[in-house]
């Protein structure tokens, strides 16, 4: 049995690269460094499927030709999913520019919450290795860590700090509805504490913490639903920390303004740094979210949620919501660009749609055009960006004869529309 060492995993924002895999036919078993997501992801294997046009098997060439016709007839196409690698982002930007398209990653506004907060206040940030080596106090907001990035505890929280940062157990406060790990009480590496509140109360809890840190008085009624004792204990620990981190996961307030909560966290971090050292870290960014933000920003100046008009990118972070626009008929064509969509599946809109996804992604309705594409890091090589936006992974091709990269299909559609295949954004 052949085994592969140090394999980078493309499936969440944590970007683990210490996996050992055993090949099992076209699939892979993760024998070391596993988590539920990598076990499921690397186990995916499929016969090489046909492209389809309106449900009928078609050659790649004729499906591409049909995609050109469908997209060429659209006036307001929206590109979503966008769960791909750097090459895929380059290609989808070029295509969207060519056909005056709109773009919204599958994580939508929740994915952009960090960007929106930065555009309001800026912040102080840190990265996985800094937290692992330095942080003696970690505050997890709206996440237990593991719910977003399964190996966050193993790879960061439980890992010994650098020798300069002491050997006492790391203090970790989890603020939100998420419970602690089942074995939290017997964890020798981490001193866990849960500050329970609902997701909707997170902004109030952070506000209360801010008051406690600043020594300001707080109306007792404001704290009625909040874990005030725990917040008080946390506030007392903050000045003792030699390096602190505030960590959050994916969309902080479902359907709400996670960016405003993040702005409160970022300004707290900025102010805490007047006295001691603190940094914020998002551990979301999966499904190609961080990759999309990085490559889209250097190409267009914006991290996402843009529309192209005459080659210019227009940024509409609040308005440009793929799900809502498709529901309301504000887009007349949908292009789903996948590969790394994981458990997410394309919307099933009433408008003509083109779906580029691996063969096992469930489809709510048969699209006008279906083009099978590979999974970056399994079927083809590429680059994926980690949640901290600093480190990127050299994704590998682990098997041959898989479906092609999404970028290749997008470039061919673009050529069919008369585009140059490059994006002069």
């Amino acid at each position: 049995m052949s085994s592969l060492q140090n394999v980078p995993c493309p499936f969440c924002g944590l970007g683990c690269d210490d996996l050992m895999l055993h090949a099992r036919g076209a699939a892979f078993t993760v024998v070391s460094g596993a988590c539920p997501r990598s076990l499921a992801g690397f186990a995916r294997a499929f016969d090489k499927p046909d492209a389809r046009v309106r449900g009928q098997p078609a050659s790649t060439a004729s499906a591409l030709a049909e995609a050109v016709t469908v997209l060429g007839g659209a006036r307001q196409p929206i590109f979503t999913g966008l769960a791909t690698d750097v090459a895929g982002v380059r290609s989808v930007l070029a295509l969207a520019r060519q056909c005056d398209g709109m773009l919204d990653h599958l994580h939508g506004a929740g994915g952009l919450q960090g960007v929106l907060a930065l555009q309001s206040s800026g912040g102080m940030t840190t990265t996985l290795a800094e937290v692992r080596n330095r942080a003696d106090l970690v505050i997890l907001v709206g996440s237990s860590g593991e719910d977003v990035a399964p190996r966050f505890r193993e790879r960061v929280l439980s890992h010994p700090r650098h020798e300069h940062a002491g050997t006492s157990p790391r203090r970790v406060f989890v603020l939100g509805p998420q419970g602690l790990p089942a074995d939290a009480d017997s964890d020798p590496a981490v001193d866990w504490r849960h500050l329970a509140c609902t997701a909707a109360d997170l902004p109030y809890a952070v506000g209360a913490l801010r008051c406690l840190v600043d020594g300001r008085s707080l109306d007792p009624r404001a704290g009625e639903n909040l874990p005030m004792d725990g917040l008080g204990a946390l506030a007392a620990r903050i000045p003792e920390a030699s390096y602190g981190a505030i960590v959050w996961g994916g969309e902080l307030i479902p359907g709400g303004h996670g960016d405003l909560l993040l702005e409160a966290i970022q300004t707290l971090l900025q102010d805490l740094n007047a006295e001691s050292r603190w940094g914020g870290l998002a551990i979301g960014g999966g499904e190609g979210g961080a990759t999309m933000e990085e490559a889209c920003t250097w190409n267009t100046g914006y991290a996402g949620r843009i529309r192209f008009r005459s080659g210019e990118a227009i940024y509409e972070p609040r308005l440009l919501d793929a799900a809502r626009m498709l529901e309301r008929g504000e887009a007349d064509c949908m292009v789903w660009v996948g590969g790394l969509e994981g458990d997410h599946s394309p919307p099933a809109p009433d408008v003509p749609s083109i779906v580029l996804a691996p063969p096992d992604v469930p489809l709510g309705r048969e699209p006008e055009v279906y083009l099978p594409v590979g999974i970056p890091g399994i079927d083809h090589s590429g680059t994926g960006v980690r949640c901290d936006h600093v480190v990127s992974l050299p994704l590998r091709q682990l098997r041959k004869d898989g479906s092609p990269p999404a970028s290749q299909m997008l470039d061919r559609i673009n050529e069919g529309l008369g585009g140059r295949g490059v994006s002069a954004c």
Partner: protein, 547 residues
Amino acid sequence: MLTLLKAGRVYDPVQGIDGEVRDIWFRDGRIVAEPGSGTVADETVDVSGSIVMAGGIDLHSHVGGGKVNIARTLLPPALRAEVEERLRGPVPTAWETGYEYARMGYTACFEPALLPVNARLAHQEMADIPMMDKGGYAMLGNDDYLLGLLAAGTDQARVNDYVAWMLRATRCLAIKVVNPGGISAFKFNQRRMDVDESHPHYGVTPRQILVALSRAVHELGVPKPLHVHASNLGVPGNMNTTLETMAAVEGLPVHITHIQFHSYGTEGDRGFSSGAAPIAEFVNANSNVSVDVGQVMFGQTCTISADTMMQYLGHPYGSPKRWLCADLECEAGCGVVPFKYRDQSFVNALQWSVGLELFLGVNDPWRIVLTTDHPNGASFTSYPHLIRLLMDRSFRNERLDTLHPEARAASHLASMNREYSLYEIAIVTRAGPARLLGLEDRGNLAPGAAADIAVYTPREDWEQTFRDATLMFKDGRLVVRDGQVVDLTWGSTHWRQTDYDAGIERLLDDHFQRHYSMNVANYPVRDEDIEGDGRGRLVAHACRRQN
């Protein structure tokens, strides 16, 4: 195809050609010697009356890496439209970067602060800069591994192995150090650090770091001298730190970057004065030292630096009020602070003067390079204006007369009569940086050199002349005509290759296991990461090893 650029006024300092009327021939992307009589060019372009130079080279411009994206995020195009008419802002996209450099007749730009662990992504970002050749300088000297080696008193040979391994892993052309040890010290909550101050944990001083890295660069035979962003950036009185930094390397080659930001005294009622004269004097007396200026221009920009310590200190002066500092992977950091330089601010006006005083005070143009530390002092698109300030004394003095009156009084600029010649401009924008980088086939027009050629038509002033290249050839291909991009091409990524004792990989593997969040096996940039999308190619340059 054989092309003849006929009868231009050629400025090629490498060959000592100073405005002589010459023909330039090129074929397949390379300059060739004039063929024998009777040879007819496939294409002849009459450039008589025009100025012909090699393509411009910017050896210090922040064009790639996560910090540039943070700056774009803090000042997105829609929020920076006011900044400049032509460009959408001080922090252009990768595409705009290539287009705007090309229009000015530039053909190469180098990212001077490449975080090693970010190398793959930084190269992919730079791969999306069309037209330009590019490369990066790997940042060391705040990374826990090197600080640990120095703290343990490890011998220089191992430091050299580590530096050589890093050059290869990051596909970089040179080594940079930023606030030696200071970025790391800031993570330990130390807020300032001077040349002989000890790191709070490792105990090493910036001086030790400077010596170890400059020796490594020298002994490995990396032509580009160690690129140094000195301690105490922006602090009144930092000229003394800078003088100590230049002396610390004990005569080895060293390049002090954006030295304008490091040339301040403490004289006068406001405790802030120009230190340009003593700094220039030191540079003039020490041939191992080269500098680039980091000229300040007035207007909105965004400061981008790995120097978290000093960026955090400076954030209260930022505008607009949104800024970010980050600690990065136990290697370094970054700080991004939007900033507006105002000509009616005493400090900003004096910074402007200090930069120009340095340009005019350093005598040897081969050892001073024209930069604005884009976008920290100003956008690179202000280079034509800067060239006019250097070449036109009356224009310079008129501009000086409009600035904050006390700053004007505190500056010696009005008494400096020097005007740069076209020959000197060709040195500080092309020939000099190419020589410092060790790129022998760039920055000149000798047979065998790359056909990176800029043609300018003399206009009413030097700013107009250098604003738009009349013609620009990249590797022999015409990509700009009359300031407009007419074709798209991709440049090369230059890097410096040298060997090392393979034992370093075993040591690094152990260090990565204990302290990194990735495996050493996945750290190095793969060729396909840069070349995979068909945008440009890698060019490896050999080192001239000294031992």
